[in-house]
Symmetry: C2
Subunit: 340 residues, 2 copies
């Protein structure tokens, strides 16, 4: 058997430290584009395969990773049309390509079918976006391949995670609106019973209200599917039933954009008559008139970190579970008005 | 990963040849009902899943199709963030899945690399979106696999085509604005020297002006990259240099949305001060306030037809070149004002 190249051989041939090679593989620290290219070239030339230890080396490296995106509706073609997914998928495709991986994107329902797909295509790893049934995660675990979850809250502790602090994010959003002087503040959120992210965000809203001594009112909470149409519909409901609201915090920009349109159609001006606060900072949120004030999460960075963790785990089968919590920040535009 | 059963394991357990198992799987030769049942039982029992990537299976059909999307900028992660591509990719992924195909999406620069990818991945067919260098098409032709071009104008006549009548589309858009009473009508379009689609649309604008006896004025034509930022920038230029314009026809909704924002920021109201006409009818064009009046092309239908043609050609290698021209229609919203 041919002597396998080690990480030390790669470092020596590339004229860099072992740590640098490791950073290129795991993305934990920034490496200059030039150095990165040199290291990747050497890895290719030496056919360096990171030590898989117990793992059978005969497992064929297909250079193919799977990405699972939730379907908002069964049979929907909308996968890429929700801008959040468009942005994160663009980032995952780009960064995977930098490591020489191709991406098989599926909006297929996450069932036995997807587990078959993983086996049939012999995928090297999988990035899961969103929350799914726990059976799925259990079955996935049995396949014993590198998995990174993005924005998945699940009771299991097996897979790497990349996410933000969702509770804190909406806490900050609500606090921003309260600091602007609003006291009658609604929440527009996804279906709370089925979505871990939405529950965290709901708690962030309650936490901020409590801190300001404002009683929580159930009738100020509006649940819906996380999409534009729901936002439009909920704006109509707010106009009809909750005229006291002076501000709404939306748990997703797609909601906020629908709300703005719904208010516009009802002749209610944003922000003069009602303030709207978003969450995500999608590209299109800046396109709106007025521009949407929102909580920015680094969507592209989420994709990049997910790819880095996956590549790292593919190189090191014994890698410990990693959890990365990315930062968020308020982006001020024009949709929230200072009151009084 | 758990040791997977191989086709040899199945053959041994079923007491048949590997070829027989292969025939049961691919249906290429008739196998007796009894043998077939035995093989299928063993496949089930051993949880055998064919490795679709394995060349050894010698079945040429990988059930994988490639989709090529132009990169707006080299190294950009924006592929999915241009909503036009998001919509058409969502449709292609969905319809391919209905036929049992998976989609490998690449924003990789269309060079030798992509031709290698086609070979390495043994793709069953390719859908090309947009216009590329003619060398690429020539090389692609030599690979001799089914190809469908979407929105590609090229001098070659080899591949199937799905597109709209771009000239007629912008002719209709311009006519709509002229019929609304506007006479000082600008055109905002992509770079004319490099894009077949943009040239056709440019001619449609000139055709409508000529029909209304309005002289063409070069200073009313604004070229830029087809994106939001260009739209914002061009709005600024129009405000500074072409105050006589009362309406602008944009050759893409992304432009129009940028124009609306640019005018908004300059204190110019749409449609009260200037009318804006779009082209595409992206989902987000309805989200705008005011809603964008535009020419709707059936983006999802383009994706669906491209998949259908490809699947048809994969089933019939001798299929004649097909060209499908899909219809467009005006969608009236609020961004174009009737004048006088």
């Amino acid at each position: 058997m041919k002597q396998r190249a080690t990480i030390r051989d790669v470092a020596a041939a590339a004229g860099v430290s072992v740590a640098t090679v490791s950073y290129v593989l795991n993305g934990k620290k920034k490496v200059s584009e030039q150095t990165r290219n040199v290291v990747l070239d050497v890895i290719k030339e030496l056919e360096y395969v990171p030590d898989l230890n117990a793992k059978s080396l005969s497992v064929k490296d297909t250079k193919l990773i799977g990405v699972v995106v939730p379907q908002t509706e069964p049979g929907s073609t909308l996968m890429f049309r929700n801008n959040f997914y468009g942005e994160i998928l663009g980032s995952i495709e780009y960064h995977a390509r930098q490591y020489g991986y191709h991406v098989l994107i599926s909006a297929t329902d996450v069932t036995e079918d997807y587990l078959n797909l993983i086996r049939e295509r012999n995928l090297d790893g999988v990035i899961i976006i969103g929350t799914y049934q726990s059976e799925f995660f259990e079955q996935l675990r049995q396949l014993d391949l590198p998995v990174v979850m993005v924005d998945s809250y699940c009771e299991y502790n097996w897979f790497h995670e990349v996410r933000i602090d969702d509770q804190k994010g909406i806490y900050q959003a609500t606090k921003y609106v309260l600091d602007a002087g609003h006291r009658e503040v609604g929440l527009v959120c996804g279906l709370l019973h089925e979505d871990g992210v939405m529950q965290k965000r709901f708690r962030g809203y309650q936490q901020a209200l409590a801190e300001y001594g404002i009683p929580f009112r159930q009738e100020y909470v509006f649940e819906g599917n996380v999409d534009y149409d729901s936002g439009v519909e909920i704006a109509g409901r707010i106009v009809r039933t909750q005229k006291d609201l002076t501000a709404v915090v939306a748990t997703a920009d797609m909601f906020a954009i629908g709300l703005m349109k719904g208010f516009y159609e009802a002749g209610i001006r944003v922000p003069e008559d009602i303030s709207v606060m978003g969450f995500d900072d999608l590209d299109i949120s800046a396109y709106m008139t007025p521009g949407l004030t929102t909580v920015r999460q680094e969507i592209s960075l989420k994709g990049e970190h997910a790819v880095n963790l996956l590549v790292q785990n593919m190189a090191d089968a014994g890698m410990k579970k990693a959890t990365e919590i990315l930062p968020v920040r308020i982006v001020e535009r024009e949709s929230v008005k200072r009151k009084g």
